[in-house]
Symmetry: C2
């Protein structure tokens, strides 16, 4: 049938049979039942990446916070709210009884902190005009947690870094600190006008060093990164396929 032919055409890419996990979007950290702390991630880059990986034939597990961007079609979408929810969903996707994940890309803008003691009821205004104070607790570091797993670590673990200055130095240090394989460093310094826009200015940091990409749309950035992931997972140097 036509549908089957289209399916076959779509799935006959270099990543056919491969499973890739992508996290995307912001997280929301509750203050009380009606208030929360959020961040300005639209989820556009993570969504574009999921679509680019899907287009190369990958089976995509897409763990997303409450993002504005429409969800990618053809991916397994898991919706979460907080950083802790996101880690739980990622852990479940990497569990020993789940189908193996070949690569994991952490594009979500995970909140560094959550509210230390979120309230179960709406915090009311006080008649005396005094105001509450919020204490924070550090959230789990999802990228670092996965990159340093003793068992079930995906063969390729990729993090994102939004940097405003000294991009290569900061991103290189981040790669080592987190223990991931690649860092996709995005220059969001005000001079670039990147923040909130449709383009990215990416430097890919790996053990081979830093590779500056031209300024590209998020879709183009996603396609280029997906192609690099495909090359890594299927190339001659890859451990699964390398000369034994």
């Amino acid at each position: 049938t036509i549908v089957a032919a289209i399916d076959a055409a779509l799935s006959a890419g270099p990543l056919t049979g491969r499973r890739v996990l992508v996290t995307s979007g912001p997280t929301h950290e509750p203050i009380d039942p009606v208030r929360y702390i959020a961040n300005r991630s639209s989820g556009a880059q993570g969504t574009a990446l999921a679509e680019a990986l899907r287009d190369l034939g990958a089976e995509v597990v897409f763990v997303t916070g409450p993002a504005d961007a429409p969800r990618p079609t053809g991916a397994r979408v898991i919706e979460v709210q907080s950083a802790r929810d996101m880690l739980e969903a990622v852990d479940a996707a990497l569990a020993p009884d789940a189908p193996a994940i070949d690569a994991a890309v952490f594009a979500a803008a995970v909140a560094d902190w959550r509210v230390a003691s979120a309230s179960n009821s709406k915090i009311k205004k006080r008649p005396d005009g005094t105001t509450p104070a919020l204490e924070f607790a550090e959230n789990p570091d999802i990228l670092r947690t996965v990159a340093r797993r003793a068992e079930g670590r995906p063969g390729l673990v990729v993090g994102f870094a939004a940097e405003t200055d000294d991009v290569i130095a900061h991103a290189t240090a981040k790669r080592l600190r987190k223990g991931c394989d690649w860092i996709v460093a995005n220059d969001v310094s005000p001079a670039t006008g990147i923040m909130g826009g449709t383009e990215n200015a990416v430097t890919l940091i790996s053990d081979a060093g830093a590779e500056e990409w031209p300024r590209l749309t998020k879709t183009e950035t996603a396609r280029r990164l997906a192609a690099r992931i495909a090359a890594h997972l299927t190339g001659p140097d890859h451990e699964d396929r390398g000369a034994a």
Copy 2:
């Protein structure tokens, strides 16, 4: 022409020539350039009200926080972020040199507090694992500010109240405390299952007492409230039209 005929048909309602201000949606209170505090208002009720007023012929000024709901068509839409931004936009709409507003309905879920000293740069994770604390300052009370204006107060000022218990007592007290004419009290106690849904269970509080409405969709609630506003602005008891 057909377009003109449609325009005429649309505008020939009881509120033709009347101007109504509606606030809607959540507010976002910045923590730093990438993080903010938000609340779970979708903006659906405020948007439905703007559309219902427009359908009765009103010219609608719609001041909205960053809501998920699509903006109402045929209204003058003013987008704001924080509570202070919203008050500024409302003040501008009520300025002596602006066309007079006949009624103002405050349906927005305005944050009670903002962060006392928002940071101009992204707050970084600390290497020692300690966490920041946030101090809050009370936001301006937009409803009360407008309801108690000495000059330029709209003839009808309507507030919303989401209540979980003792709905009539709390909303009646709120009406007096704020100095507004009506309170649209919504029972959001868990037993009603209203929160996050498409229906409202409203009690309209005025100087005539409390009037319980049946459980209605947000669209129906909006139409009923718009009809009441129209009756008030054009009825025999209204100060503009009353027996002199």
